[in-house]
């Protein structure tokens, strides 16, 4: 575990959980843990490495590079922003790093609340903002041995900024 990852509590019973594992995510375990809080509403998002085609080649794996000295602090700040904006009992961001074979999960974000809308909105907020604010870079490896850095999408930036103006 890197410094700065783990489970944090703002001191009032609420929970922030940030992990950056280099191995397969325990999706069932993470979801069971957040459901066990008994908050009433849990929303989650899972992003998985896909066997996409690009210029005639098929993705066989992706690599997630990150900035260890900054990543966990950036994710914790993101979770704290969500906690301030919505009445959440828990916020969970698990992001795998290193080489990730196609079919494996890259990221899990989840939010627990007694309010359905708070759980749903904050879950969307967490993944939207993670995509533009956290120092991760994705490289795709193809079946012909080539590789390519994934380019950032303008639509992701627009969607992340839309949270500034949403009610």
């Amino acid at each position: 575990m890197l410094p700065g990852t783990g489970d944090f509590s703002p001191g009032d019973g609420r929970m922030i959980r940030i992990h950056l594992p280099q191995k397969a995510l325990d999706l069932a375990g993470e979801m069971a843990a957040i459901n066990a809080l008994g908050s009433g509403a849990v929303a989650s998002f899972t992003g998985t490495a896909r066997a996409d085609d690009h210029a005639g080649q098929t993705v066989t794996a992706i690599e997630l590079e990150h900035y260890p000295a900054m990543t966990s602090a950036a994710l914790q700040a993101l979770a704290e922003t969500a906690m301030q904006r919505w009445p959440l009992a828990a916020c969970c961001i698990i992001h795998r790093t290193g080489i990730i074979p196609v079919g494996d999960a890259i990221v899990l974000v989840a939010a627990a609340s007694s309010h359905r809308v708070a759980a749903l909105e904050s879950c969307s907020f967490l993944i939207d903002r993670l995509k533009t604010d956290a120092p991760f870079w994705k490289k795709e490896y193809y079946d012909n041995g080539s590789a390519r850095w994934v380019e950032a999408k303008a639509a992701d930036t627009t969607r992340a900024q839309d949270w500034n103006i949403r009610a």
Partner: protein, 83 residues
């Protein structure tokens, strides 16, 4: 000061980090990019499209006008693509 590079910036430059002593003329991130670019082809390639680059000063996001004379670590990287 420590410079750290990620993704294609790192690959073009060939190092993931290096220690540098900045001359007194280098005050901002933009100054630093200009100073680094003359050091070789790898830097020029990495900084070919400076409008696309992002920066973090001591792990806080910053723009090219940020003063770096008191900073310990400057990170230079492309737009992030996690998640």
């Amino acid at each position: 000061m420590k410079l750290v590079y990620f993704a294609y910036v790192r690959e073009h430059i060939g190092y993931d980090s290096e220690e540098v002593d900045l001359p007194a003329t280098v005050q901002t991130i933009a100054d630093c990019l200009g100073w680094l670019a003359v050091r070789g082809e790898g830097y020029r390639a990495a900084f070919a499209d400076p409008a696309k680059l992002l920066f973090a000063v001591d792990q806080q996001m910053a723009d090219q006008t940020a003063n770096i004379t008191c900073c310990r670590e400057l990170a230079i990287f492309p737009p992030v693509t996690g998640g």
